[in-house]
């Protein structure tokens, strides 16, 4: 086992110290962090400054009604001062004598609704009082509980946020599965092509070398993923987007990490087995083509699942390995997934990953010492006696 850890440590030390890794980590964290500010940027402000000219009964109604938004009140002596403040952008709107509203162009939509509501309340109260009714009693009588929304279909309140998070997840998983798998294949070919593998394999077993490489590069990818998630959630907390996030985001994070580990083990082992067939870096991309196509297919299905998480295609492919490693976490983020579907997907993927580990390790072991021309997969499977062990 110590051989495996030594190999893993070397991978982490050499890859983790490269500029490419550090820069990639910082950029992806910044990018995802910036994305968490986007919804707020487009959703408009959640605080307004409203000016008032003359005495106002609308003002208490306005500040009392606004729960989600913050209203700052600014009194003005006359209309001229109010106009100037509006034009200078010091205030979002000015209420004049509870009858007119000054704004630069149209009043902000949300503020307009708030002002209209407050105006209704204040005006109705005044008119009722004028008709001889007790204001307090009127207010009591007018208090109405808001309508309770019940969705008999899926919970769609957070549909937008869910789709956004799921789409982001598609890209994140795609890169964090593809890139480290490529590094695994390139590392395998580097060792095979330079014959370092001949020295390595007189010191440690093939499974230790292969396992260490996969574990080491996987640890870096996991670190990358965690940093990006933490950056995203942290930025969301700062930007206030976190309050708009669907409940159960912790579950989405856990599911993402779980599926990443399985998916990475699957694709990285596949990449290592395929990589061990060739001896030159130029041949890596062609020998990895089948794996790339598999990841690309999973990528496109995941995109579809992010938008249509409940569609039959998304539901079925989210249970079939290796697509499930990307589609299932994306579906989990995009909508509700029945527990049994998760269970089936996980069981199948664990079986598939175990199978790839066993077969891939065998291919690697048989092919990695056969330098020279590209090794045919059929040769490796047929001839087990290539290496004395």
């Amino acid at each position: 086992m110590s051989g495996l850890w030594l190999v893993a440590r070397r991978e982490i030390a050499t890859r983790g110290r490269t500029k490419a890794f550090v820069i990639g980590l910082v950029i992806s964290a910044l990018l995802v962090g910036a994305l968490a500010f986007l919804p707020k940027l487009f959703a408009g402000p959640d605080s307004y400054t409203v000016g008032f000219v003359g005495p106002s009964t609308l003002q208490p109604a306005l500040t009392g009604a606004a729960k989600d938004v913050e209203i700052t009140v600014k009194p003005f002596a006359d209309e001229a001062a109010a106009r100037k403040a509006v034009l200078d952008g010091d205030v979002d709107a000015v209420v004049v004598d509870d009858r007119r509203v000054f704004a630069d162009g149209e009043v902000d939509r949300e503020l307009g609704l708030l002002l209209e509501g407050a105006h209704q309340t204040a005006q109705a109260g005044r008119q009722l009082a004028a008709a001889g009714l007790d204001a307090a009693k009127v207010a009591e009588a007018m208090r109405v509980a808001p309508l309770e929304q019940v969705s008999v279909g899926a919970d769609t309140r957070y549909a937008g946020a869910r789709t956004g998070i799921a789409t982001l997840l598609v890209m994140l998983l795609f890169f964090q599965l593809l890139q480290p798998s490529m590094y695994v294949a390139m590392g395998v070919v580097e060792e095979k092509g330079s014959r370092i593998v001949e020295i390595l394999l007189t010191s440690i077993r093939p499974w230790q070398l292969l396992g260490g490489k996969i574990v080491g590069l996987g640890a870096l990818a996991l670190l990358n993923l965690v940093v990006v998630i933490v950056a995203g959630l942290g930025a969301a907390a700062i930007s206030g987007f976190a309050s708009d996030m669907p409940p159960g985001i912790g579950g989405v994070v856990v599911s993402t990490l779980f599926w990443f580990v399985l998916g990475y083990a699957f694709f990285a082992t596949l990449a290592a087995a395929l990589g061990s067939l060739v001896s030159r870096q130029e041949e890596v991309s062609s020998v990895l083509t089948p794996m790339m196509m598999l990841i690309m297919a999973a990528y496109f299905v995941s995109y579809f699942a992010a938008v249509e998480p409940g569609s039959p295609v998304a539901r079925i492919l989210s249970m079939i390995p290796p697509f499930s490693s990307m589609v299932m976490p994306v579906r989990t983020a995009a909508g509700e997934v029945p527990l049994w579907e998760m269970g089936v997907a996980a069981a199948l993927m664990i079986i598939a990953t175990a199978a790839v580990l066993v077969v891939g390790a065998r291919i690697y072991e048989r092919a990695v010492l056969r330098t020279g021309a590209r090794v045919k997969l059929s040769e490796v499977v047929r001839d087990g006696s290539a290496v004395a062990r």
């Binding site: 190999v7 070397r10 050499t14 370092i196 001949e198 020295i199 007189t202 010191s203 004395a388």
Partner: protein, 292 residues
């Protein structure tokens, strides 16, 4: 003792080894020579377990070699393999640790070896930044770092300058003196002759000779008789047996077939005999003869 016993190996329909056997004793430096493609590398790869023989066996002290045995071997493959982007010192330590050394042991062994191989100044450089000769020294350090019980080196001297050759030779002699069996292949026969106790000559997958250098030379040695006669009357060799090559006073006889004493009598009669004796062939001559 390392015994290689009747190794056979075919690549497709091409026979690489057709019964290769020899042995390397503890404290013996064994030179493995042969033309390109004769089977040296194939034999050494089978010895190191990175290639499987079709038949035959490699034994150590009478029992088949295991993975654990080979971990204690130092190996330098034919095509040099190092991580180009890894620093010299880190790389040598890494291989030491893979062979079971503790971090402290590996660090100390690495520092000592780099010192021996005049690489201390380059310890912090990436291997790829070193000259090929220096990379070769690092390769040697990798093979030696874990204080191996057996050394198997494929062409360790190729591409080295004379100073590096001497440094490497010194290290190998030191290991040999410490009782380690050292097996290396080389095309530099003068070097093999100078360093090795025993030599194995392989040709087309078969061992054509394998013995101590002394024994080989002695066996091949009674073939060339050199006679130098000062002030000899011309034509004194007329009527003597064997093939004769004359060069001034010096006469070389081959295929003498037991008529050496007759030649000596003729020589004393002809003039003052300055030299009379069997020529010891060089390893190069033995090699040419053996693979011809």
């Amino acid at each position: 003792m390392i015994e290689i016993d009747d190794l056979h190996k075919r690549y497709g329909d091409k026979t690489a080894l057709a019964g290769v056997s020899f042995a390397v004793k503890p404290g013996e430096m064994f030179g493995f020579v042969g033309a390109n493609g004769a089977g040296k590398t194939t034999t050494m790869r089978i010895l190191m377990g990175v290639l499987a023989a079709d038949s035959g066996q490699v034994r150590r002290d009478g029992r088949p070699l295991t993975f654990e045995d080979r971990r204690k071997f130092g190996y330098m493959p034919e095509e040099r393999g190092l991580y180009q982007k890894m620093k010299v010192s880190e790389q040598v330590q890494y291989f030491g640790r893979l062979n079971g050394m503790s971090a402290a042991q590996a660090a100390k062994a690495t520092a000592d070896l780099l010192e021996r191989l005049s690489l201390t100044g380059r310890a912090g450089d990436e291997v790829g930044a070193l000259s090929l000769g220096n990379q070769q020294r690092v390769q040697l350090a990798v093979a030696l770092v874990h204080d191996p019980e057996v050394l198997v080196l494929d062409e360790p001297f190729s591409g080295l300058d004379p100073i590096a050759v001497d440094a490497l030779a010194e290290v190998l002699v030191e290991r040999r003196t410490a009782g380690v069996p050292v097996l290396f292949s080389s095309h530099q026969l003068d070097l093999v002759e100078r360093l090795c106790d025993s030599v194995g000559i392989i040709s087309a997958g078969r061992m054509v000779a394998s013995d101590t250098v002394e024994e080989l030379r002695a066996r091949e040695g009674r073939r060339l008789l050199k006679v130098v006669v000062r002030d000899a009357a011309p034509g004194w060799t007329a009527g003597l047996g064997g093939n004769i090559t004359e060069k001034g006073d010096e006469v070389l006889f081959t295929d003498v077939n037991g008529s050496d004493q007759e030649i000596l009598r003729a020589a004393t009669k002809a003039g003052t005999v300055e030299h009379f004796g069997w020529e010891r062939p060089t390893l190069t001559e033995i090699f040419r003869e053996a693979v011809a």
